[in-house]
């Protein structure tokens, strides 16, 4: 398996790396430009609001806030400098009923606070001015990114499926030959060894989950428009995927599997009092860990890359020379982290799918005939 993984990386990911590094250069420009403006604005606001504290704090750059802002969801998609893509906002509340409008309707209020038609937005969260509860089904940055990922998945794999029909029995070509090794990898190295001869039943789910995570991760690594959202690093997505796994296990699990969880055969009744809760806990914990792993890995990748950039501005605030000096180190480190994140993008998709596949395999395992 390791040999296959390394072969895969040699062939495909390094060519991808080259492409993405080009985007990376764009990211540098995109990020370095708007930031000083942002901090200047911030400084002027602060000057206006708290003139007393400004003195030596002028132009202070809050790295934590910036990073968390980037990791979190947004109601509009910041593209380059002043260019922002407005996204539809869909709200439902008992007070106002269903309300759909574009995020550009929100006028900049005082600073970060923005309001429109009785709605108030604070740090990306929309609330009613009156304070009553509200359901937010907006197409946020992550939802838009989700649609892009889904669209990409549909486009890529429907195209491939078509070329499999038109080039029946022939060697793969183009996009097909790019992704066929990965499809075969999922089939031969993930599903077959862990599930056994019934693997075919699970292939659609495993492939969809694998490529959803993989494409989502890669899109998250692209710093400009179609990518850049922290989709797979947003807890809701790993939560949903892990729930799918849990529900699937519950649906497919056979008597043998349940028997081992509820009452492990061959274990005294008294020990079962301890063992059964542990087994039940493990049953829920497995998908839970899947969720945490994906969420933490992808978020951490984003946080680290952003943290290295923040260093530039933190030092730049002290002196311009220090800022330029640190920027060289930061960029080098970020390049390194970016390469690592490319690996992680594949690895997390692989690990998530592999573990799911193992859980499926154990859930449908027939009792061994002794």
């Amino acid at each position: 398996m390791a040999a296959k993984v390394s072969r895969f990386f040699n062939l495909k990911v390094f060519s991808l790396l080259a492409v993405l590094l080009t985007f990376f250069a764009v990211k540098m420009v995109a990020q370095e430009e708007p930031k000083p403006e942002h901090s200047n604005e911030h400084a002027t606001e602060q000057t206006a609001e708290h003139p007393a504290t400004v003195g030596h704090e002028s132009g202070k750059f809050n790295a934590g806030e910036m990073i968390l802002g980037h990791i979190a969801d947004e109601h509009d998609w910041h593209i380059v400098g002043p260019v922002t893509l407005p996204l539809p906002i869909i709200l439902y509340s008992e007070e106002k009923g269903l309300d759909i409008f574009m995020s550009s309707k929100f006028e900049p209020h005082h600073g970060e606070e923005r309001s429109y038609n009785g709605y108030e937005m604070h740090k990306g969260k929309i609330a009613l001015a009156s304070g009553t509860s509200i359901h937010d089904f907006s197409i946020t940055k992550n939802v838009a990114s989700l649609f892009i990922t889904a669209g990409l998945l549909l486009f890529v794999f429907l195209t491939i499926a078509k070329s499999y029909k038109t080039r029946q029995g022939k060697a793969p070509k183009g996009l097909q030959s790019w992704l066929e090794p990965i499809i075969l990898f999922v089939r031969d190295d993930i599903a077959k060894p862990t599930i056994g001869h019934k693997y075919q039943r699970f292939m659609p789910l495993l492939l969809t989950i694998f490529f959803f995570i993989f494409f989502g991760n890669l899109l998250g690594l692209i710093p400009i428009f179609p990518g850049g959202a922290n989709l797979t690093g947003n807890i809701a997505i790993p939560f949903f995927l892990a729930s799918v796994i849990l529900i699937t296990i519950i649906v497919i699990a056979n008597k043998h599997y349940w028997g081992h969880i509820i009452a492990m055969p061959g274990v005294p009744k008294l020990v079962l009092l301890i063992l059964t809760p542990i087994e039940l806990l493990g049953f829920v914990l497995r998908p839970f860990v899947l969720m945490i792993r994906l969420f933490a890995n992808i978020s951490a990748g984003h946080i680290i890359a952003l943290a290295f950039y923040s260093l530039i501005f933190i030092f730049g605030a002290k002196s311009a020379v220090a800022g330029y000096g640190v920027s060289i180190v930061s960029v080098l480190f970020t390049v390194f982290m970016f390469c690592l994140d490319l690996l992680v993008a594949f690895l997390q998709a692989f690990v998530f799918t592999l573990l799911s596949s193992i859980y499926f395999g154990s859930a449908i395992e027939e009792p061994a005939h002794h």
């Binding site: 969801d73 089904f137 946020t140 889904a150 499926a161 029946q168 659609p204 492939l207 809701a236 949903f240």
Partner: protein, 164 residues
């Protein structure tokens, strides 16, 4: 805490999107792709098997050819050997039969010679006897003019015979 609290809106959209993607890809992408892949694999395996079989057949044929060739060679050898043997045996047979025939002819000749000799001797005896009788007759005619002489002659003749 916002970071680790799943957002309901995103969950809702994810449910819908993932469901649609899973359904469409499952029906129109994964199924034909996996089918095509396994079909191609089967075709490749089959082709390889066939090639292997052809190779085996070829090897078999070659072995058979070789066997046939060896058989033919052995047969030729056997035929040659047989012919040689036959030649030798014919020669030997001819020799022995010639020998026997010769001996037989020699024996026959000897027998003939013996017989001829005996016949000749017999003839000679008869001739001699008849000459003797003739002589005797003449003598007797002449001598028996006197009885004394006759007697004498007879005695003499008897004595002669006796001596013989």
């Amino acid at each position: 805490m916002d970071l680790i609290k799943p957002d309901l809106g995103l969950l809702f959209w994810m449910l819908i999107t993932f469901g649609i993607v899973l359904y469409i890809l499952g029906k129109y992408a994964w199924k034909p792709i996996l089918k095509a892949l396994s079909e191609r694999e089967d075709a490749i395996t089959e082709a390889l098997d066939k090639a292997e079989e052809a190779k085996k057949q070829m090897a078999n044929m070659q072995a058979e050819n070789e066997k046939l060739l060896a058989q033919a060679r052995a047969e030729r050898e056997a035929i040659l050997r047989d012919a040689k043997e036959m030649k030798e045996s014919i020669i030997a047979q001819a020799k022995t039969s010639a020998d026997v025939e010769g001996k037989k002819m020699i024996a026959n000749a000897k027998e003939n010679i013996e017989r001829e000799k005996l016949a000749a001797i017999h003839d000679l005896k008869n001739q001699v006897a008849s000459y003797s009788i003739e002589i005797a007759e003449q003598l007797v005619r002449k001598k028996l003019e006197s009885s004394k002489e006759q007697e004498e002659l007879v005695n003499k003749a008897i004595n002669n015979f006796h001596l013989n």
